[in-house]
């Protein structure tokens, strides 16, 4: 038995499915592909799979990870090929590798966010966003299991870069992610929407995951 780490995308039409649905899709794909994976031994046996970090519904995932256990001889290329045959539009297997880090090592995530104005000039959005990010404190409401609490979003930002063009404002931002400290970029974007008072459309992609030393997760 060996462990494998499946790197995949969750983009296109599949970015509209929830994490729970993703789990179901993957279980079904693994079952359908007949890849020799380890099945749980309960009353309802199913393939044993584990995901790295849930992705919010609507966010494009460019580097998602899933771990599973292979029980018979099969090449990684074969696994990739067979799984890709069984997945809906937008979920694609990028590669299969031996896990190097632990899932709990994830500490940061890179996001690319494109912000489109509805009835507002992009330059105005650009200014407001910069002003927001330059504040000492960015207080946002975060829903937790114990209720809503105010957090300082600024503490979760590792680095960022804002650019603008005629169509949209481009925000590249690295945020805390993982078990210890995790934040959803939508908290910042909702605050921006309130500030500019415009029905902004935001297209968010999560593009990379890192460990505490900013080494790319693998």
């Amino acid at each position: 038995m060996r462990n494998v780490r499946v790197k995949f995308t969750k983009d296109g039409k599949s970015r509209y499915i929830s994490h729970l649905d993703l789990n179901r899709c993957m279980l079904r794909a693994v079952h359908k592909s007949k890849i020799p994976v380890w099945y749980t031994e309960g009353f309802n046996p199913h393939p044993f799979i584990t995901f790295a970090l849930p992705l919010s519904l609507g966010v494009r995932g460019k580097c998602e990870f899933m771990d599973m256990k292979i029980v018979e001889e099969i090449s990684n290329d074969d696994i990739k090929y067979k799984l890709n045959e069984c997945l809906p539009d937008g979920i694609n297997i990028v590669n299969i590798n031996e896990p190097i880090m632990k899932l709990s090592d994830i500490c940061y995530a890179d996001f690319n966010i494109r912000i489109y104005g509805n009835n507002i000039d992009t330059n105005k959005i650009f200014e407001e966003l910069n002003e927001l990010l330059n504040k000492k404190e960015i207080i946002v409401e975060k829903k937790t299991k114990s209720g809503i609490k105010n957090i300082n979003f600024k503490e979760y930002i590792n680095r960022y870069n804002v650019l603008t063009n005629d169509d949209y404002v481009n925000l590249d931002i690295t945020l805390c992610a993982g078990n210890n400290s995790n934040v959803n970029p939508n908290l910042l974007l909702n605050l921006l929407i309130d500030t500019v008072k415009d029905d902004l459309y935001t297209d968010i992609s999560r593009i990379k995951l890192y460990d505490k030393d900013m080494l790319e997760f693998e």
């Binding site: 296109g12 039409k13 599949s14 509209y16 499915i17 929830s18 729970l20 649905d21 179901r24 899709c25 079904r28 794909a29 079952h31 359908k32 592909s33 099945y39 309802n44 046996p45 199913h46 519904l57 609507g58 069984c86 997945l87 809906p88 539009d89 937008g90 459309y201 297209d203």
Partner: protein, 615 residues
């Protein structure tokens, strides 16, 4: 690809994956090679529609035609509808994302009366004229099938073609005729006239209805000598040769019935007198074990499902059930695939069965005694006894089950308050059975859920002439049950009497109801099957505005001589048989099932199925 306009609204609605398509096995074709575009519309939300087997069959079948592209369309939930209307997005097919406005066919499946308003709303959302008479060109042919078309009249002003009976053959014949007419530049009228001559096709615009002063039907006549005076249902008599898909579209989100489904037989031998399906799908026709096994294999292979449901109206009635389960076991066990049997009868649950269905979840068992007393069960011809129910429950409790659901109806013909009390009493007897020696699971209590719906008299049943209990009476009966409930182990659930009333109105309605439906749509009525959207007050004011008394349809006892709105539709079941059954029910007399003895219902006219098998 999704349009930018659509992407911008998707994150503002609940469950956006309902509206994007792209699921495994969904069919995308090259538009340049397509001659006929077909929008298969299910007038309810995605999760409900995607669970429907009929849609899966016809979707695959139509898409096997190289120049036909069938796409799926579901009713957008009101939050999505609002976004679509605000952003000028017309109702679109999930496969192409194109508006269905200019499709050749817009097909609806009418599974329940409370979805009728959704049909109209979907047409309107697509920008298609709602009234058949406002559609003039040879496109936008609105067709409908499904059990509710056995009385098509309340929808007659909106639908161009009804498919009566089973759609597997007739839809292709109509499409081929359409192709021919399109090629020859023939008119819509000409196409519909030719279509009306195909068996199983009903084009309501070619018929006239006259009414008596009291609102009953005086005459129903074809306008034109060329169209049939009676429309006979189509049927697939050999179920082994009947088309069945090799794959299903596998939804990426959870749906109501998320598993592979194999239909093991059509029709039912039982003849429960309230059950429309038990009559309109006659005769009973089984698939062979080999066919079912092959179809299950194909489906699991192509979908990745690890659960198969053996579907039918009463699955434990399949003649070689144990052999079938043994055959399936040969491969399902190795592939970690479970087999489940829905619609088990009280008398169909046994040791032998459970030992074969290893995967029957210990979650809960559901049985439908339908009525609380033996007399009442005899009236409805349910042919299940109290001893059988208690025996089955005893067996289930010994096997470790602690939760049982029982379904009943109130408002059945001849019902008295004693029959109503009998429902709760039967529930109590099941609870008592649990606490008898040796039945109880240590440390666990028993849960008996009693689900009670209100009886809706349906066309093509022996009760088609019967009035429905008035809403006040149904509520009184519900109250009686609560008052007689003694045990906390019993949970009582029921359907709203108001929704059952509306169902009764449209189930046996006539063409006068078309204007009611139209006005309802104009007033924003939709999703009547969902309690969050159903408004009885709104409906009542619409009936009033149209000058129509809904009680005329729901609560009136019809005369046996009366012309019924669906008398021109022929399901093979003779009216005289239904009348005989009705009179037997009045005398608390039962009728044996088709396997024991033929009761000459008329279904033998289809020349197959159980009618011609050895008894």
């Amino acid at each position: 690809m999704l349009g930018k306009k659509l992407e911008k609204i998707l994150l503002k609605v609940q469950k956006p994956a309902r509206y994007v398509g792209g699921e495994i096995n969904s069919v995308v074709k090259n538009i340049d090679e397509i001659n006929v575009r077909f929008a298969f519309c299910f007038p309810d939300v995605y999760e409900v529609g995607m669970s429907h087997l009929g849609m899966k069959i016809l979707y695959s079948q139509l898409n096997e035609e190289h120049d036909v592209w069938c796409e799926r369309v579901f009713a957008p939930w009101p939050d999505m509808e609002e976004q679509m209307r605000n952003n000028n997005i017309e109702l679109y097919g999930l496969e192409s994302g194109n508006s269905i406005k200019n499709f050749d066919f817009i097909g609806f499946t009418l599974q329940y009366e409370l979805s009728f308003t959704n049909v109209l709303n979907m047409l309107e959302l697509a920008g298609i004229p709602i009234l058949s008479s406002d559609r003039k060109e040879l496109n936008q042919i609105v067709v409908a099938g499904g059990p509710c078309v056995c009385n098509p009249e309340p929808m007659a002003d909106f639908i161009d073609i009804f498919f009566i009976g089973e759609g597997e053959e007739v839809d292709l014949e109509v499409i081929n005729l359409y192709k021919k007419c399109k090629k020859n530049n023939e008119s819509r009228e000409e196409f519909l006239l030719q279509a009306s001559k195909i068996e199983g096709v009903y084009v309501p615009k070619f018929y006239d209805v006259d009414y008596n002063d009291d609102g009953t039907i005086k005459s129903f006549k074809a306008k034109n000598l060329d169209v049939p005076s009676k429309i006979k249902k189509r049927i697939m008599i050999d179920m082994n040769k009947s088309y069945f898909p090799k794959s299903f579209v596998v939804p990426s989100i959870g749906i109501v019935h998320d598993r592979a489904v194999a239909e093991i037989f059509r029709g039912c031998t039982r003849g429960c007198r309230f059950c429309q399906a038990g009559f309109i799908y006659r005769p009973n026709r089984e698939k062979s074990i080999e066919t079912i096994n092959e179809q299950c294999k194909n489906l699991c292979e192509s979908t990745g499902y690890d659960e198969i449901s053996l579907s039918s109206l009463s699955s434990s009635d399949y003649s070689k059930l144990y052999d079938l389960l043994d055959k399936l076991k040969c491969w399902t066990e190795n592939e970690m695939t479970s087999v489940s049997l829905p619609s088990l009868r009280v008398d169909g649950f046994s040791d032998e069965l459970t030992s074969r269905l290893k995967s029957i979840r210990k979650g809960g068992l559901t049985f439908a005694p339908e009525a609380g007393t033996q007399r009442m069960r005899d009236v409805i011809n349910k042919n299940v006894t109290e001893e059988e129910l208690i025996k089955t429950c005893e067996f289930a409790f010994k096997g470790g089950w602690t939760s049982i659901k029982l379904y009943f109806m109130i408002g059945l013909p001849t019902e008295t308050m004693d029959d109503v009390k009998g429902i709760v009493e039967l529930g109590q007897k099941v609870v008592n059975t649990y606490y008898k020696d040796g039945n109880k699971t240590k440390g666990k209590s028993v849960n008996v859920t009693i689900g009670v719906s209100s009886f809706v008299p349906k066309p093509f049943t022996p009760f088609q002439w019967e009035p429905q209990d008035k809403i006040e009476v149904l509520k009184e009966k519900q109250k009686t049950m609560i008052d007689n409930l003694k045990s906390k182990k019993i949970k009582l659930n029921w359907h709203d009497a108001e929704t059952s009333f509306l169902e009764a109105v449209f189930a046996r309605g006539d063409r006068k109801l078309c204007k009611v439906l139209k006005l309802a749509q104009e007033n924003g009525i939709k999703f009547d099957g969902w309690s969050d959207y159903f408004s009885f007050e709104k409906w009542m004011s619409i009936f009033e505005e149209c000058g129509i008394n809904p009680e005329f349809y729901a609560n009136r006892r019809r005369n046996l001589e009366e012309i019924l709105p669906w008398d021109h539709i022929d399901y093979g079941i003779s009216k005289s048989f239904l009348e005989r059954e009705y009179l037997l029910s009045c005398k608390n007399q039962t009728t044996p099932n088709c396997k024991e003895k033929c009761s000459n219902c008329g279904a033998a006219c289809f020349k197959g199925g159980i009618c011609f098998e050895k008894r």
